[in-house]
């Protein structure tokens, strides 16, 4: 099923990537082409097949629920593009 421009614009919104009108057309064509190629998977009979959710057969390890790290605010903030007195700063969200 080919994608239309409105669908691609919607996906771009979900992915938080601004796409200009000029690029939308080309991207719609490219993504449709890839999807069409992917759709050959419909030939495969997967009736009763369990989905593979892990690359290795293993039980996820657990650890005690306690603090193992911390007290490193300066390291956490070392790469921040815009900081404000030891916090991450973002444009105003609440009026």
């Amino acid at each position: 099923m080919p994608l239309d421009k409105a669908t691609v614009a919607h996906i771009a919104k979900l992915a938080r990537i601004e796409i200009g009108d000029a690029d939308l057309e080309a991207l719609t064509g490219e993504l449709s082409g890839i999807l069409k190629w992917i759709e050959q998977l419909s030939e495969v009979d997967t009736e009763g097949v369990e989905p593979m959710t892990s690359a290795v057969q293993m039980t996820l390890r657990r650890r005690a629920d306690k603090v193992t790290d911390g007290n490193c605010r300066d390291k956490v903030l070392a790469n921040v593009p815009v900081d404000a007195d030891g916090f991450f700063a973002v444009p105003k969200v609440v009026e």
Partner: protein, 493 residues
């Protein structure tokens, strides 16, 4: 150009142990070679001062009687591994200026074993690419060209900078990562050896994530032995990676017995893909003959879902990438483009920070995970992935290892496939299945194409049986006696 730059890892290890030269001398020789090879664009960041400092420390350790597995040996590090205090870009504009306050587990293991970092190698952006043309820092050029033809060829990708640096002998070895073939395919394109270990063998902690159920770090070098040495230093259990497997790391060099007598080697019919050039098929047959001649038993096998591995990959990998790359939002690190509102800032930052291929994949991943399409695409792909893995499990009941070509073609020209995503994706058709199943694989240079370019053979093994993969790879390496070298057109000295 001193002859120290031609040394293998094992040769350097021997020379350092005997006191023929110091780590500082070995490191200086490679720093000079890297500076003389800027035309390859193999590095995003060079770290000569850090290299000298660490080499001097290594020489001191050695003098005091301590020597790790990689003591004093300089290497290149793919710019996907976080390195403390050293710019780490993943080949992307969106990580501008990012200097991690920590090292990845794999690099920390290597430093613990005495390795010295020469710099961070160039790569496809976020490891998404098969030609190194998607890097924000420009394409890496393959040291190899067709004889009598000056056109630049791609080194493969995504670990193309590491592969090119190893092939050009400006580093003795390097590390890379392999999500769909990103170590093995560039190794094949550059006449070098590249090993993707079993998923869970090397920790993923501190490696910029692309597709978390597929990503795996591995060594790239000029011999199978060198890969064995590096893997032992890189691998090991890490509590910080929930998928790291707690199993002992063997001495991989001990597996290089030169013997394959009695081993059963599977030849999967389905790897003979449509349009495979005669030269690739002939080399594959040559590999079969070499292994049979060395005493292995050749067994025809079938991996019926092979042709579905690539389309499955192009659902699973973008889905995981769209989730992993959600963290690049201009708030905590890297690029930030100002916006009126928060969403506006996110959208502008990600529009400016991601390149075309990354955007394509994030959008594809977002689509296949979105409401109403999840079952049709993502769940379907996970089920096909089960079938792909089952094919391998059944095959490995009959054989010890599998032999295939690494790539369907030799290296192609820069720009040749960049406008056709699917043609580019087809590069990985023979390498992707091992990632889908989490299995180890190696690419060994085995011969030259009709137009004089390297071609690789791939050996796949059972989970956590890198030893058999290395053993078979070593025998192929010995039989192929690949000693062709690119003409050093890039050298500026």
């Amino acid at each position: 150009m001193s002859d120290l730059t031609g040394l293998s890892v094992s040769g350097a290890r021997e020379g350092l142990a005997k006191g023929d030269f110091t780590s500082l001398e070995l490191t200086e020789a490679h720093i000079a070679a890297i500076d003389a090879a800027d035309g390859l664009n193999a590095f995003v960041s060079k770290t000569p001062d850090l290299a000298r400092e660490r080499a001097a420390l290594s020489d001191k350790r050695r003098a005091s009687g301590e020597a790790g597995l990689m003591e004093g040996i300089p290497i290149g590090v793919k710019d996907l591994f976080c390195t403390e205090g050293v710019l780490t870009t993943a080949g992307s504009h969106i990580l501008d200026g990012f200097e991690p306050p920590y090292d990845s587990t794999v690099t920390a293991n290597l430093w613990r074993e005495g390795a010295v970092m020469l710099g961070k190698t160039n790569m496809d952006e976020f490891a998404m690419g098969s030609s190194n043309e998607t890097s924000y820092y420009g394409p890496v050029l393959n040291p190899w060209r067709r004889p009598g033809d000056n056109r630049s060829l791609v080194p493969g990708g995504s670990s193309g900078g590491s592969a090119a640096a190893v092939a050009a002998r400006i580093v003795p070895a390097a590390i890379g990562t392999d999500t769909g073939g990103s170590i093995r395919q560039p190794a094949a394109f550059t006449g070098t050896v590249g090993l993707k270990p079993t998923y869970g063998r090397c920790s993923r902690w501190g490696i910029v994530a692309f597709a978390s159920s597929l990503d795996q770090a591995g060594p790239m070098a000029r011999s199978v032995r060198d890969c064995a040495i590096l893997l032992r230093a890189m691998a090991g259990f890490d509590a910080k990676d929930s998928t790291s497997v707690d199993t002992p790391v063997p001495d991989y060099e001990a597996a290089l017995t030169g013997e394959v007598t009695g081993l059963k080697i599977g030849i999967p019919a389905e790897y003979k893909v449509d349009g495979m050039p005669g030269e690739v098929e002939r080399l594959w047959q040559q590999g079969v003959d070499w292994l049979r001649g060395a005493g292995a038993e050749i067994v025809d096998i079938s991996l019926p879902h092979t042709r579905y591995a690539l389309p499955t990959y192009y659902i699973v990998a973008p889905a995981e990438a769209s989730s992993n790359l959600a963290r690049y939002d201009g708030v905590r690190y890297g690029l930030r483009v100002p916006g009126e509102r928060l969403d506006d800032m996110y959208e502008k930052t990600r529009a400016a920070g991601f390149g075309a291929e990354v955007k394509r994949r994030v959008l594809m991943g977002t689509y296949v995970l979105s409401a109403g399409y999840y079952d049709a695409y993502y769940l379907k792909a996970q089920k096909v992935r089960t079938l792909i893995k089952r094919d391998f499990i059944e095959a490995f009941e009959k054989v010890d290892a599998i032999l295939t070509p690494t790539t369907p073609t030799p290296a192609f020209a820069v720009g040749e496939r960049v406008d056709d995503p699917i043609a580019m994706y087809l590069n990985d058709i023979l390498t992707v299945p091992a990632n889908m199943a989490g299995l180890p694989g190696i690419s060994v240079p085995a011969g030259l194409s009709d137009d004089g370019l390297p071609l690789g053979l791939q050996v796949l093994g059972k989970a956590f049986d890198e030893e058999t993969v290395l053993r078979v790879g070593h025998v192929l390496e010995g039989a192929a006696a690949f000693d062709a070298r690119p003409d050093p057109w890039w050298r500026a000295d």
